[in-house]
């Protein structure tokens, strides 16, 4: 298996298996794994949220996500990065995104995990459609 094959970003339309992704990070040379779970909260901007829908421009999202993962591997001394982002309808408490990083040392693992989630949020063409408890719904397009 090539070095790159152990790191990836991909979309997920059925449910993120954090335990399975975590196993993909196992590596005898790694002393540190940092994982980030982004979870659907029950509120946003003071409004009660009932559920979310994520929509992606899939081809570009997976391409851009993979670019971000490769950037992080170039910038930080890490061995493996796995990242998945949900699309479709999500309930409160469901995992919307997972980023896991394995590295020899924790400093690089923390930095790379933070980099990947920050860049995903800033650059990957995925949009959140929030459904509120009062029946309204809104696309989130941050300024």
């Amino acid at each position: 298996m090539s070095r790159g094959a152990s790191s990836f970003f991909r979309l997920n339309d059925h449910g993120i298996d954090v335990a399975g992704l975590r196993r993909a990070l196992d590596d005898r040379h790694c002393g540190a794994v940092v994982g980030f779970d982004g979870i659907v909260r029950d509120h946003h901007g003071g409004r009660a949220v009932s559920e979310l829908r994520y929509e992606a421009y899939a081809e570009l999202a997976e391409r851009e996500g993979q670019v971000i993962v490769e950037e992080a591997r170039a910038k930080f001394a890490v061995r493996r990065i796995v990242a998945e982002h949900r699309v479709g309808l999500l309930a409160i408490g469901e995992i919307a995104v997972y980023v896991g990083v394995a590295a020899a040392h924790r400093d690089a693992a923390f930095s790379a995990c933070r980099y990947v989630i920050d860049e995903i949020k800033a650059r990957v063409p995925i949009w959140k459609h929030e459904h509120y408890a009062d029946g309204a719904a809104e696309w989130i397009h941050p300024d």
């Binding site: 982004g38 994520y54 929509e55 992606a56 421009y57 081809e59 570009l60 999202a61 391409r63 851009e64 982002h85 919307a96 995104v97 989630i117 995903i120 949020k121 800033a122 650059r123 990957v124 063409p125 995925i126 949009w127 959140k128 459609h129 696309w139 989130i140 397009h141 941050p142 300024d143």
Partner: protein, 78 residues
């Protein structure tokens, strides 16, 4: 030239469709202005990114017959 335009998120809701084919002779800027006017899209172009054939490109990118053109409103993944 004929272009294939795809819409996502709020732009899809406003356009009332996922995609459309359109004959267009100008650049991406004039295409956005034309489609924004047609579909009542008020989002300024400064907030929109352009993708052509599945890659981010600058608004100065030359369009070609058969291109897939996507106007991307600000993203909100994560």
């Amino acid at each position: 030239m004929q272009l294939h335009v795809r819409y996502f998120a709020s732009l899809r809701d406003l356009a009332g469709r996922d995609a459309e084919r359109i004959e267009h002779a100008g650049d991406a800027v004039s295409l956005y202005e034309r489609l924004a006017h047609r579909h009542g899209i008020s989002m300024p172009r400064s907030r929109v990114r352009l993708a052509v054939n599945g890659a981010f490109v600058a608004w100065t990118q030359t369009l070609h017959d058969g291109d897939e053109v996507v106007f991307l409103p600000p993203v909100s993944g994560g």
